[in-house]
């Protein structure tokens, strides 16, 4: 236990993740985002998210690793609609990680907040601790109407009842890119080689993904944008997602 506490203290030191090869980070430019939800369906396709059905939706049992939140500003006629894509922020100081009694969720050296499905016992504590409400619990084992199951992505586990799940930054794509880099005798994957499904589909190119430990990566440059901020930063969760505010003209 003591070694674990020591390790945890190390994790908590600022800059801990900078020494590794990767720190996967995303930037989301709200000035580009139109709220079209292409990312949501792309994620559903890539990550085998279930089709929960009307009844389950009415009970708030839907599972969407990335969703669009909507906020109204003002009243008619000076009313504005603001969209913000919300997904796991892969916090460096993630509240969910300290909460899990069985270490089913932990932080890996790439800066990813990962979820080990077959370790999860379904206490749902992590979902309670997450201030972004991006963790989704499988209350049921969902099935696909035949032959829709033929579409399921063989690179991604199909989850069962009793397991918590959430955005993985498409870890399967990261793995493939790393394998390819290794095959080519490269130490690191190139910038742009890993593209999660949501980033790939985004028609306005609002989402940028990359390794923020690489100062030359596009994402590192985007992070320096003065419009950048992190959602609920005051909670000291140190999110890995940097949002760029919408510009008001």
């Amino acid at each position: 236990m003591s070694t674990f506490v020591e390790k945890l203290r190390q994790y908590r030191k600022p800059g801990y993740y900078d020494k590794f090869d990767y720190h996967w980070t995303m930037t989301i430019d709200l000035d580009r985002c139109t709220g079209c939800e292409a990312c949501m369906v792309a994620c559903q396709a890539e990550n085998n998210l279930p089709i929960v059905g009307e009844k389950r939706f009415a009970e708030n049992r839907e599972i969407k690793w990335i969703r669009i939140e909507r906020y109204w500003e003002g009243e008619y006629p000076d009313v504005k609609m603001r969209f913000i894509p919300m997904l796991c922020q892969h916090c460096d100081d993630a509240p969910c990680e300290t909460a899990c009694p069985v270490f089913a969720t932990y932080h890996n050296q790439d800066g990813l907040n990962t979820q080990i499905y077959n370790r999860c016992i379904g206490t749902r504590t992590c979902a309670v601790y997450c201030p972004y409400e991006v963790r989704y619990f499988n209350w049921f084992t969902y099935t696909w109407d035949e032959p829709l199951e033929q579409q399921l992505n063989p690179d991604v586990t199909v989850r069962e009842k009793g397991v918590m799940e959430k955005c993985t930054f498409c870890i399967q794509r990261i793995r493939i890119a790393k394998d390819n880099a290794k095959d080519d005798d490269r130490r690191r994957v190139r910038d742009g080689e890993v593209v999660p499904a949501c980033v790939q589909s985004c028609p306005t190119e609002a989402l940028v993904f990359g390794n923020s430990n690489d100062p030359e990566a596009k994402v590192s440059k985007m992070m320096k944008n003065p419009r950048g901020y992190k959602v609920l930063e005051e909670l000291n969760t140190t999110p890995s997602i940097v949002y760029l505010t919408k510009v008001h003209s």
């Binding site: 000035d31 079209c36 089709i51 009307e54 008619y76 504005k80 033929q150 399921l152 306005t204 190119e205």
Partner: protein, 749 residues
Amino acid sequence: MSKISRRDLLQYIGAGGIGVVGGVLYGESVQQNVELLIPQVVPPEDYSPGVATWYNTVCNQCPAGCGISVRIREGKAKKIEGNPVHPVSQGRTCARGQAGLNALYNPDRIRTPLQNVGQRGSGNFEEISWDEALTTVGSRIGRLKIDNEASRVRLLCGRVRGHLDELFLQFMNLLGSDHYQQYDFTYPSALMAANKMSFGTDVLPYYDIRNAVFLLSFGADYLGTWISPVHHSLAYGHLRQGREGRRGKTIQIEPRMSLSGAAADEWIAARPGTEGLLALGIAHALVSEGHYHGSDRDEWSKALQAYSPSLVSAETDVSEDKILQLAREFGTSTASLAIAGGATAAGTNAVASIVAVNALNYLAGNLSQPGGIIFNPDPAFSATAGSRQAGFQGMLDLIGAMKAGDVDVLLVHDTNPVFALPDNVGFRQAMQNVPLIIALSSFRDETTEMADLILPTSTYLESWGDDVPDPGVGFPVASISQPVVATLYDTLPVGDIVLSLARQIGGELPIHMRWGTMEEFIKERWREEYDQRGSEGEEQEFEAFWQAALEAGVWGQPGAVAGDQPVPLSSSMIASIADPVSKFAGDESDYPFVLHPYLTATFLDGRGANLPWLQEMPDPMTSVVYGSWVELNPVTADELGIREGDVLDVESPAGSVRVPALIFPAIRPGVVAIPVGQGHAAYGRYARDRGVNPIHIVATLIDDQSGDLAWAATRVKLRATGERLQIIKTDGVTRTLGRQILGPENDHA
């Protein structure tokens, strides 16, 4: 020791034996079937377990013609992404494009040819063989041909482009029938008619949103539904943040905020039906404020005399200052661009409104300029596919002919007029007069349900074809669509069905339509295109070219600038200016609200409603899933005492629908909006009996000039039924409440 008799012993042995056999049988029965890693004896050449292959083809979820790449693993389609080398989609997709896999693997696909055995429309179908089906159709049409009655055969398609259009045309011509029509609810008929009047062009131009700095959209939801949403979204991203230090501005004018309205810097809810008038008011200000420098300035000011900002302001409910400000910004920005679509292009003044918007572009000097309107070259092929669009008038003619008993055989493919036409035009009833209806379809939608015979078509992911994106991108482009997976069921690509029918009918048809398959036909046509363009520096052998085109999924000549840019005559533009105010069906005193049906980014005109991913995708503006709703302004709702979930009867002069109310902050008081797409009576388990279809209660007013259905020109009244219904939506609190979720400076809770 107890004695066991010989009889008992034998009985025990017998029982034990049965137990063992039973156990073995049970064990066998629960044992999992042996699954082989490679199920085929001779696997296809691209089949290697664990390795993904990508095939490029064309998306068919809307008529934009985006190029897509489909990821195949072990012979199954796993993921659709944009084709990075395709100039329309540039590697991107919309939600509908992603959901194409749900069409391929849809559990409600038609799997074999079907014959109606009950009453027509009852949905009682029996499976028959392809031979039987083709013989039935072939002999019936063949007899009509022999009797010189082939003009009693009619073919109705959705938006079909490329060489499939040519195949259909050839088939009908050889048959001796000139009744080949297309009907697509989303076809921009009014825009085409207006552009013909303003610019003299028959081809949709390229609206260069990417390079514009001031975009003025009159009702066109260019980010969600208007003609090429993915391409426009790419352009929008660039307009906003693609240029260092220069952020483009967008203004959206529409009575109900669409996705593009939400993205805009300013959303202006002019009085419905007066958007074109507002354009003329801006045009007036452009000329009178000296932003137009043409030699015919006087003629323009004379033509626009009646539309001074003060008068227009009173009519449109947009302040005079605002009109002048818009004119100033539009006139001084380089480049500015005005577009029109949506409800603006669906009133009784649709063409006049778009002509007014075109005039704006002319006056600001936006034609053939970067960031303006760039005219497309004639498409590489299928240049005339658009002219086969029946429009609303064409559909009325067809209904008339069916009612008069002039139609013996109706072939329907990939269009759903029973759903996408108002109820009171009676398409469904007229179909009852047709002796033989044949549907070439993948799904049992409302129109297919009415068929006597269903010839199941393969989906676009299993078929050969080609396409010319419309609108184009300013240079010649053509895409190839190829099967990315083996056909799942006993279905045929629609082109192959036509060729089989030609063989079945016989006579000169199979002589001229000699191709065995659609693939053969497409390849031959591409060879001809290739030979014709041989002089343009293509030196590869055709096979190499074909392989390269297949691999890329697209062929184009980016260097070739759009040939001759038409120079519109100012005088004819001036002459075409007409008073653009829409009339509405229904008296204001009886029907106090204007009905604003709108296409959604989710289902478009309803064709996406059978895809479960789209049903589960929250509506982008309201977050509602699985159902319909009617949107009311909060103040209106307050006055009427209506809360969210109150079920209302929305009644127009043409009919009524029953739908729950949703309070929507961004809709003009006096307007109620219902999304199009739901309300299917058939179309599979995900679509059927869900929500309502506002098109059905639209009054049949038409646009004065194009004759197209004015689907945004109906008034309605509301009546609370006293019932309540839970609207299923994902949004909880829709205000940030000072949480700074949208950024530190950006919190205006």
